[in-house]
Amino acid sequence: MSLLTSVLGAFRKSGVKAELCDKGVSERGLLIFEHTSEVIRAESLLKEAGIDVAVKGPPPEVRTGCDLAIEFPIVSGLRVSFLLEQSKIRPLQVLPLQDLLLEPVSLYHVKDFGEYLMVRAANMKITVDKRDLRIVNISGGGCPDVPYLAERLMGKTLQEAPEPRSLGSTLCGYALQLAYEEMRRRCL
């Protein structure tokens, strides 16, 4: 039996979930709320939507909010935020459990192709035809909502295209939202 099998097998046998093992980084995020009533509503809403959530006590370094927090798969951050917003539930903070000080990217790379402008946020790029502000390409990313978003946004102008956050689910979708907002800020 190889080392990998032994290590993973040990976790399987002990019932410890892979995301809790000390290898790698945590794939969970944390929603911090002001009131317990919001936690209860959010938990029901997210469970109904099929999202794997768990109510936990927040770690001691989180100094705001009530005594309960919701853990969720961090990659689904865009869908979680959108669902909560639609129900007018506003978390105080959305944090990656791996490192509570991490923040979403805020640096943009802009490349001018003459008639076209490309903006990159993290791993996502959006390109617009400067003449009519039509979205001509979306590239980068790796989560399954990226090809889905590309099909729905490409060919539409910045004025008429739906916001990526209204259709996307993952952090790649979120990065595309940031690139899209930066593109709008520059072009409109």
């Binding site: 190889s2 990998l4 099998t5 993973l8 097998g9 976790f11 979930k17 892979a18 995301e19 093992c21 290898k23 790698g24 980084v25 945590s26 794939e27 099929g50 798969p73 990659v75 951050g77 869908r79 990656p96 791996q98 490192d99 991490l102 990217v105 640096l107 790379h109 490349k111 192709f113 076209y116 490309m118 990159r120 993290a122 791993n123 996502m124 790029k125 390109t127 035809d129 001509v136 390409n137 979306i138 590239s139 980068g140 990313g141 790796g142 989560c143 399954p144 909502d145 090809p147 889905y148 590309a150 099909e151 996307g168 689910s169 993952t170 952090l171 790649c172 979708g173 979120y174 990065a175």
Partner: protein, 287 residues
């Protein structure tokens, strides 16, 4: 010993498919199903089909399901893999647009580790993210990040490129440092093919190859050009070439593809594919 490409297509309700794949009239045919070639796993598959044909190889197999980012299709693919990997005859497995879920990733890796003959493992897109997130990046033979994703691999703290810390999101000139940092923290595969203005093939020992010609700047904004590159590399691996040789030749083929099609930033990946066989022949059969 086939090549298998594992991923998703962006159609809700698209069934789980595990079929040999061919490309005809611009559409991918997978058993009773057919999909158009758009960016993502379908572009990777299309490139692998075309390159395999030129190289005289068997058609690639596809393991796909529909997923629009909710993870449901990815989980169907994962469950199928866990069940069927013990019978798997694959020589090369490419993991692509899949919802990153560490628990599923680790279950699959355990099954692969149990195989008598271990296939070559390539991870791109979402599966590369989860491979890094799991802490088992070194179990893979090749990752194919772009510059933004390379910064993510170099950042030992983050679960997704969305949180990559600013000091790592530098310009492309810093990529060699990022590669080194990723290897220091065991967050890279045995080999890396970093896609950028200059493509770099690297291992823990440093940069092995640098491919910068021909340079077609307009390829960068076109969604799917990274997917075609991974598809070409997959076919080259399947042909028996080594990982660094496949990565370097694949990068050159993809660049020649750009030169042959002379795209604009508004071109689509489907516009480029018709020239892919010629690009493969130009690079590999030049003599």
């Amino acid at each position: 010993m086939p090549l298998m490409i594992v991923g998703t297509v962006p159609y809700e309700g698209f069934p789980l498919i595990h079929e040999e794949c061919n490309l005809r009239d611009g559409r991918l045919n997978l058993g009773h199903e057919s999909v158009s070639v758009v960016r993502g796993t379908s572009a990777l598959l299309a490139a692998a089909c075309l390159a395999s044909e030129v190289l005289g190889l068997a058609r690639p197999w596809a393991l796909l399901a529909g997923d629009i980012g909710r993870g449901d299709g990815s989980r169907r693919v994962y469950a199928h893999l866990v069940e069927h990997l013990p019978d798997s005859p694959e020589r090369v497995i490419v993991f692509h647009y899949l919802q990153p879920e560490v628990d599923w990733h680790n279950r699959i890796l355990m099954k692969i580790d149990d195989l008598e003959r271990r296939p070559l493992l390539v991870a791109d897109a979402g599966y590369m993210y989860v491979a890094k997130m799991s802490g088992f990046a070194t179990s893979y033979d090749l990752f194919t990040p772009d510059v933004g994703e390379m910064a993510f691999l170099a950042d030992e703290s983050v679960p997704h490129p969305f949180y990559t810390r600013g000091f790592l999101l530098q310009e492309e000139e810093k990529v060699p440092e990022l590669i080194q940092r990723a290897y220091v923290h065991d967050n890279a595969a045995r080999y890396l093919l970093v896609k950028g203005r200059r493509d770099l093939v690297a291992s823990a020992d440093g940069i092995i190859a640098e491919i910068s010609e021909p340079c077609v700047e307009n390829m960068e904004p076109i969604g799917g050009t990274g997917d075609t590159l991974t598809g070409i590399v997959a076919a080259l691996l399947h042909s028996g070439k080594s990982v660094p040789e496949s990565a370097a030749s694949g990068a050159t083929v993809n660049r020649v593809l750009g030169r042959l099609t002379n795209p604009t930033p508004a071109s689509s990946i489907a516009d480029l594919l018709s020239c892919l066989p010629e690009a493969v022949r130009t690079v590999l059969f030049a003599d």
